[in-house]
C-alpha cells in the first residue's frame, strides 16, 4: 500500500470573491504501516489536505496515486478508494444516526457492498477493536457518553477494513483520560492490525508520543516532513508559524541553559527522565 501525493494544489471557493489557495504544491509519500502526525493550526490547510487523500476533495493541480493508480483517472472509482482509506472527521459522534450503535457501524460495510454476514462480522470486530463493551451494542447511540460515541464512530470506519485510517483531532473535547484511551486504542490498531495511521492534531505532546513521522502544514504549504525529533529540534521555526514543540523540549532547553548537559532532543517525559537520571546518577 502506498499513497503518492504529487504536487497538489487546491483552490478554495474558486471563482468567488473568497477564492484562496488552500493547498500549495504539496508532495509526499505515505507508506504501508506508517504512523504519521499532521500538525498545523486552524486554517493551515490540514483538514483540506486529508480530504484529498480519500477523494472527498479533488485537487485543481497535481496527482494522487493510490497503489500507483492515478485516482483522478476517469475509470478510477472513488468509492473503491474510500474502502481503503478511511477518514474519521472531528467530533465524529455527530454523524451517528441509526437506532442502535451496531446498525450504525454496519452502515459503512453495507455501503461498500459487503455481504450481510461479512457486514456483521466486520461490525463486531470493529466494536471490539475500539474496546466497547458488548452490552452496549444494541443501545441507541444517543444514550452513550461522548467518549463512547466517539469510539462507535471510529468503529464505523474501521468496519470498512481500510488499509489507511485518518483521524482528524480524535481527542478534541475529551478529558485527559479519554484522550489517552483513544490514542492508546489507535496505537494498538497500528501495532496489531498494521493499519497505516494518519493523525491530525494540535497537541504536540500527543503527536510526539505516538508517531514515526510529522508533517507540518502552514498556509497550505508542507513546511516540515520528518521524524519528530528532527521537527521539534527546529522549534524556533515552529514558533514563528504559531506552533510549538512539546513542553518537554522547552524543559530540556531550560535545563541545558542552566548548565545541565541533558539530551535536548528528548520529546517525551520518558526520554527526558532517563536523560536527567543518567546525568544525576
Amino acid at each position: 500500500m502506498s499513497i503518492i501525493v504529487d504536487k497538489i494544489s487546491y483552490i478554495y471557493e474558486e471563482g468567488s470573491s473568497m477564492e484562496r489557495l488552500a493547498l500549495d504544491n504539496i508532495s509526499c509519500v505515505i507508506e504501508q504501516g506508517e504512523f504519521i502526525g499532521v500538525i498545523g493550526h486552524t486554517g493551515s490547510g490540514k483538514s483540506t489536505f486529508i480530504q484529498h487523500l480519500n477523494g472527498l476533495l479533488k485537487a485543481n493541480k497535481g496527482h494522487i496515486y493510490y497503489n500507483e493508480q492515478d485516482i483522478y483517472a476517469p475509470d478510477f472509482k472513488m468509492q473503491e478508494l474510500r474502502k481503503h482509506v478511511g477518514l474519521v472527521f472531528q467530533y465524529p459522534e455527530h454523524q451517528l444516526f441509526e437506532s442502535t450503535i451496531f446498525k450504525d457501524v454496519c452502515f459503512g460495510p453495507k455501503n461498500l457492498g459487503f455481504s450481510d454476514k461479512d457486514t456483521q462480522i466486520a461490525a463486531f470486530n470493529a466494536l471490539r477493536q475500539v474496546g466497547l463493551d458488548e452490552s452496549l451494542y444494541y443501545q441507541s447511540p444517543f444514550d452513550l457518553s461522548g467518549g463512547q460515541k466517539r469510539r462507535v464512530a471510529i468503529a464505523g470506519v474501521l468496519a470498512m477494513k481500510p488499509d489507511v485510517i485518518i483521524l482528524d483531532e480524535p481527542t478534541a473535547g475529551l478529558d485527559p483520560k479519554g484522550r489517552d484511551e483513544i490514542l492508546d486504542c489507535v496505537k494498538k490498531l497500528h501495532d496489531e492490525m498494521k493499519i497505516t495511521v494518519i493523525l491530525v492534531s494540535h497537541s504536540m505532546e500527543d503527536v510526539a508520543k505516538y508517531v514515526d513521522r510529522i508533517m507540518v502544514i502552514n498556509d497550505g504549504k508542507l513546511v516540515f516532513n520528518n521524524e519528530p525529533k528532527a521537527v521539534f529540534a527546529r522549534h524556533e521555526e515552529l514558533e514563528k508559524i504559531g506552533l510549538a514543540a512539546p513542553s518537554v523540549t522547552y524543559i530540556m532547553e531550560d535545563l541545558y541553559k542552566a548548565g545541565f548537559d541533558v539530551d535536548r532532543s528528548a520529546i517525551t517525559i520518558e526520554e527526558a527522565k532517563n536523560s536527567i537520571l543518567n546525568l544525576l546518577k
Binding site: 468509492q79 474510500r82 472527521f89 455527530h94 454523524q95 452502515f107 470506519v157
Partner: protein
C-alpha cells in the same frame, strides 16, 4: 455549492436603499409583490420594470448578486412555465403528440416566468440591502400593533433572526455530515428517487439532532444573558423614521396609485 444561495444574504454598501427604514422596505416589497399579480397588462409590467430597475440602480448592488439567487429557483420556473404552457385552455396554436400549446398558454407561461423572476429580484433587493437584524427589527416594530390581539410579535421576530443567523452554520454542518457519510461509502448521487430519498436519512437525522442541541445551548446562553422576552427590553439601534423614509412612503403611494390606475384603465396586451 451550498453557499451560493444569496437569497437572504446581506451585501454591504451605503446606498439610499440600504439607509431606508426596514419598515419602508418591507411595505415596499409587499406592494411590489401584490402589483405583480394584478393582471397581465403590458403597461403594468412596463411600470413595474421601470420601478424595479430604478430600485436596483439606487441600491448599488451588482446585478450578479441578484441573479445568483435565481439559480436556485430555475426548476420551479421551468415547472410552472411548463404547466402553464401545456395545460391552459384556449385558442390552439400548436399541437404535437399529446401536448397542446394555446395562445393563452403562451401568455400565462411568459407572464409566470416574468413574475417569478421579478419576485426573486424584488425580495432579493430587500434582503441584500437590509441586515437580518434590521429586517427582524422592522418586522417587530412594524407589526407591533398585533400585540394588542395577543400575537407574539417579538417572539416571532426573535425566532426569525435566530433562524437567519444559523442558516450558514447549518449549511456548513450539512456539508460536513455529507462528507462524513461519504467517507463511509454513502452515495447521494446515483439511484432512483426512492433510493436517493432514503440516502438522505444519514444526513437528516444527525442534522436534526445537531439543530436541537444548538437550540438548547442557545436558549441557555440567552437566559444567562438575562433574556426574558420583550418586556423591559431596550434597543441598541432603535428604529426612527427620517425624512428620506417619508419621501419613500410618498413614492410608494404614487407607485400604488399608478399600478391601480393602469390595471383598471389600460388592459392592453401584446400580440
Amino acid at each position: 455549492m451550498l453557499r451560493d444561495i444569496t437569497l437572504g444574504q446581506y451585501y454591504r454598501a451605503n446606498s439610499l436603499i440600504h439607509r431606508l427604514d426596514p419598515r419602508v422596505k418591507l411595505l415596499g416589497t409587499l406592494i411590489f409583490i401584490i402589483s405583480l399579480f394584478l393582471g397581465q397588462s403590458i403597461w403594468l409590467y412596463a411600470l413595474i420594470t421601470v420601478a424595479l430597475i430604478a430600485v436596483i440602480k439606487l441600491s448599488k448592488v451588482p446585478l450578479k448578486y441578484i441573479t445568483k439567487g435565481m439559480k436556485s429557483i430555475v426548476i420551479l420556473v421551468i415547472i410552472s412555465a411548463a404547466f402553464n404552457l401545456f395545460l391552459t385552455d384556449g385558442e390552439v396554436i400548436f399541437r404535437f403528440w399529446k401536448l397542446t400549446i394555446t395562445r393563452e398558454g403562451i401568455y400565462q407561461c411568459v407572464f409566470m416566468i416574468i413574475r417569478l423572476i421579478y419576485l426573486i429580484c424584488g425580495t432579493s433587493i430587500m434582503t441584500l440591502t437590509t441586515t437580518p437584524t434590521n429586517l427582524t427589527d422592522g418586522i417587530e416594530k412594524g407589526l407591533d400593533f398585533l400585540n394588542k390581539i395577543k400575537v407574539p410579535v417579538h417572539e416571532v421576530a426573535m425566532m426569525m433572526s435566530i433562524a437567519l443567523r444559523f442558516i450558514p452554520i447549518l449549511m456548513e454542518e450539512t456539508d460536513k455530515i455529507m462528507k462524513a457519510q461519504m467517507a463511509r461509502g454513502a452515495d447521494f448521487e446515483s439511484g432512483n428517487l426512492v433510493k436517493r430519498a432514503k440516502a438522505l436519512i444519514p444526513i437528516l437525522v444527525p442534522l436534526f439532532v445537531s439543530a436541537f442541541r444548538r437550540a438548547n445551548d442557545l436558549a441557555m446562553a440567552m437566559e444567562a444573558r438575562c433574556y426574558h422576552g420583550s418586556e423591559g427590553r431596550t434597543k441598541m439601534k432603535p428604529l426612527k423614521y427620517k425624512s428620506r423614509d417619508h419621501k419613500a412612503y410618498i413614492a410608494l403611494g404614487v407607485y400604488s396609485v399608478l399600478v391601480i390606475a393602469i390595471s383598471i384603465f389600460m388592459k392592453g396586451r401584446f400580440i
